[in-house]
């Protein structure tokens, strides 16, 4: 982001309800903007679709979390089982009650636990990484009203990096989709 410092980040509009935010997001997307983002203090049902974020397999560009969780779960499962196999069959074979060295039913509980552990850690850390969090600074934090995005404010930001972006046009456009106030966002730094 070094080239955008001291410069315009985007235009931020505030909306008075989740429904008007959703309608605005849909219009912004239909107008051909691609680099924009909506902000709400809770996950508004339908906002993802309004912003053009798809679910399921087709939505992998916007959400790779399920695939990552699957990968983590499979690594935990296969790695967990063969860890036990290697330990109890190859590295340190012990005869317990005359059972076979590879007594696989006894390895299931640990395999299961490690599957869950792998899938959960991949889901959480994958989600954070894909969201580019932790992110200590975001230009939006310089807008005083934006503090309400985590309590009762609904915002939409059209970013300056959008190909179609033009300051005057974007400002006018946000006002035309019922934003109750529109602010320019500049990175102070």
């Amino acid at each position: 982001m070094s080239e955008t410092r001291h410069t315009l980040y985007g235009v931020l509009g505030e909306f008075d309800s989740p429904t008007s935010l959703m309608a605005a997001a849909r219009k912004v997307r239909e107008a051909g903007y691609t680099r924009f983002d909506a902000f709400a203090p809770f996950p508004v049902p339908g906002l993802s679709e309004a912003c053009g974020l798809e679910y399921g397999l087709r939505g992998w560009k916007h959400n790779l979390v399920p695939q990552l969780a699957l990968l983590g779960g499979m690594s935990g499962c296969i790695g967990g089982f063969f860890l036990q196999y290697w330990v109890n069959v190859m590295a340190y074979p012990l005869n317990i009650g005359g059972r076979p060295l590879n007594s696989w039913p006894a390895f299931i509980p640990v395999t299961f636990e490690l599957t869950v552990l792998g899938a959960s850690t991949f889901a959480v850390f994958g989600m954070l990484a894909l969201n580019k969090l932790p992110q200590p600074h975001c230009p939006l934090f310089t807008v005083p009203r934006f503090k309400h995005a985590t309590s009762d404010g609904f915002f939409l930001c059209i970013e300056a990096s959008d190909k179609k972006f033009n300051l005057a046009e974007a400002t006018k456009f946000l006002a035309s989709v019922n934003a109750k106030s529109v602010t320019e966002v500049r990175d102070e730094d």
């Binding site: 983002d37 508004v44 330990v87 590295a91 636990e113 552990l117 989600m127 969201n131």
Partner: protein, 459 residues
């Protein structure tokens, strides 16, 4: 569900999940003010001090244990585990209600979970912390506990993965980790709220670091929701597996009274039973002290009472099946054990257990009892006591009366057994006190979602 929508004025019998008249700002204000603006009250200080003193008792007990060794406890042959395993199973079981509320009720789309899931998850974490203390210190040399993990040691030793005790290590550590992740992921949006509402510089920095730059972006929420749903889906089988593995610690052994296939489901039901009792024990004073009656309504308390009643009946079925199978199998050792439960030296514990776990909770069939906060509170304590007695009965009666009369014995807990147990309650309550002051005890983001949902219903 037959429970109907969250805010259903047409069904007068059903109390609301959220009292009317709240909007996004008011729920945010009310919950975050407990952390941010409310001054430290005398009651909080007094409560925390007492809990902290009890926590000190735990530390003293553990220090003395490390100095003198496990001989200061009442354990000996034949009861080599004693209070350590009884307390471990009790605490870990209590934790299970937190995961049940946050994961299973989330998957079942039960909106009444919203205002209780956060502190129930906190309860899970703290209970797992208390549970973890016991196996650790029971080894006598807790600083060697890492031997249980598979790591390339210079001694060339590796763990024995066919042992339920190693399964326990993996189950409990996975459970602790996943519960912490689940809790933290749920907290991120609320930490951002606290960051943005805090006026004090230190609070802004601390909450700001913990919130990691969360700003409620739709793109973030999109991935966040899928991660949360996945965690709920993963935590659900996990919670069932954890107490199943705990029950394997017993069921894989051949001791009469332990070696039965009913143990896993019966342990899981018992865990949820005691956990819901503990959620009630915490929720009732919490809503009173912080004026959260609008959010933790009678509907919540009543629903929890119903879950307690249902799981209590499963537990009762478990007790009955133990008796029935002992008779039906014709195994003389199993039959003898049943006789020892009823007429042996520990029969008092057994009858107290039946009273606490089976007879008293039957009062919950009556709606007046379910909606009486004071009775519910007492009942929750009774059930917690009962579930502790259950584990005592399972551990002690079986071990002191196994196959060979020459191996029989008695078990008497010592002062240090009790002080360690009571001490972990100090740890638990201290952590709860700190949690209530430092983090939002109710999920603010989910309450806002509930507000949005409720206002839609009204339209």
């Amino acid at each position: 569900m037959s429970e109907g929508p969250t805010n259903a004025p047409e069904i007068p019998r059903l109390p609301r999940v959220l009292e009317p008249g709240h909007n996004f700002a008011s729920v945010t204000d009310k919950i975050s003010s407990i952390v941010l603006t409310r001054p430290v009250s005398l009651g909080w200080l007094a409560g925390f001090s007492i809990a902290f003193l009890i926590l000190m008792l735990m530390l003293v007990s553990i220090a003395w244990l490390i100095v003198k060794g496990t001989g200061i406890w009442g354990i000996n042959v034949p009861v080599g585990w004693g209070f350590a395993i009884v307390n471990f199973v009790w605490w870990i079981g209590i934790g299970h209600a937190g995961t049940l509320i946050s994961a299973i009720l989330f998957l079942l789309n039960q909106q009444w979970r919203t205002s209780i899931n956060r502190f129930a998850e906190a309860m899970t974490l703290f209970a797992v912390a208390c549970a973890g203390v016991f196996p650790l210190i029971h080894t006598g040399r807790p600083w060697m506990a890492f031997y249980m993990f598979p790591y390339p040691s210079t001694m060339g030793l590796w763990p024995q993965f066919r042992s339920p005790l190693i399964w326990d290590v993996f189950a409990v550590s996975t459970y602790g980790t996943v519960s912490a992740l689940f809790w933290f992921v749920g907290l991120i949006p609320d930490l951002a709220t606290l960051r943005d509402r805090a006026t004090n510089k230190a609070a802004q920095i601390i909450y700001g670091m913990l919130a990691m730059g969360w700003r409620g972006s739709a793109r973030h929420w999109h991935r966040y929701q899928s991660a949360y749903l996945l965690l709920a889906g993963l935590a659900t089988p996990l919670v069932l597996s954890v107490h199943t593995v705990v029950s394997f610690d017993f069921a894989v052994g051949i001791v009469p009274g332990w070696h039965t296939t009913i143990f896993p489901p019966y342990f899981v039901a018992g865990a949820i039973y005691s956990g819901f009792a503990m959620v009630l024990t915490i929720a009732i004073p919490l809503r009173k002290a912080y004026g959260l009656e609008d959010f933790i309504t009678m509907r919540h308390l009543e629903n929890m009472a119903k879950v307690m009643l249902a799981t209590g009946l499963i537990v009762a079925y478990g007790y009955f099946m133990e008796f029935f199978l002992a008779r039906y199998s014709g195994n003389k050792f199993d039959m003898f054990l049943v006789d020892q439960r009823l007429h042996g030296p520990y029969s008092g514990y057994y009858f107290a257990l039946i009273l606490c776990n089976i007879l008293t909770p039957q009062l919950l069939w009556i709606q007046k009892v379910r909606t009486n906060v004071a009775i519910l509170f007492v009942m929750s304590l009774v059930v917690n006591l009962g579930m502790w007695l259950e584990r005592f009965v399972i551990v002690v009666i079986s071990l002191t009366r196994d196959f060979n009369p020459g191996a029989w014995g008695r078990y008497q807990a010592t002062f240090w057994d009790y002080s360690t147990f009571v001490g972990t309650m100090g740890l638990f309550v201290s952590l709860l006190f700190l949690f209530v002051r430092g983090l939002p005890a109710i999920s603010i983001a989910e309450m806002r979602e509930l507000v949005a949902h409720t206002s839609e219903d009204d339209e």
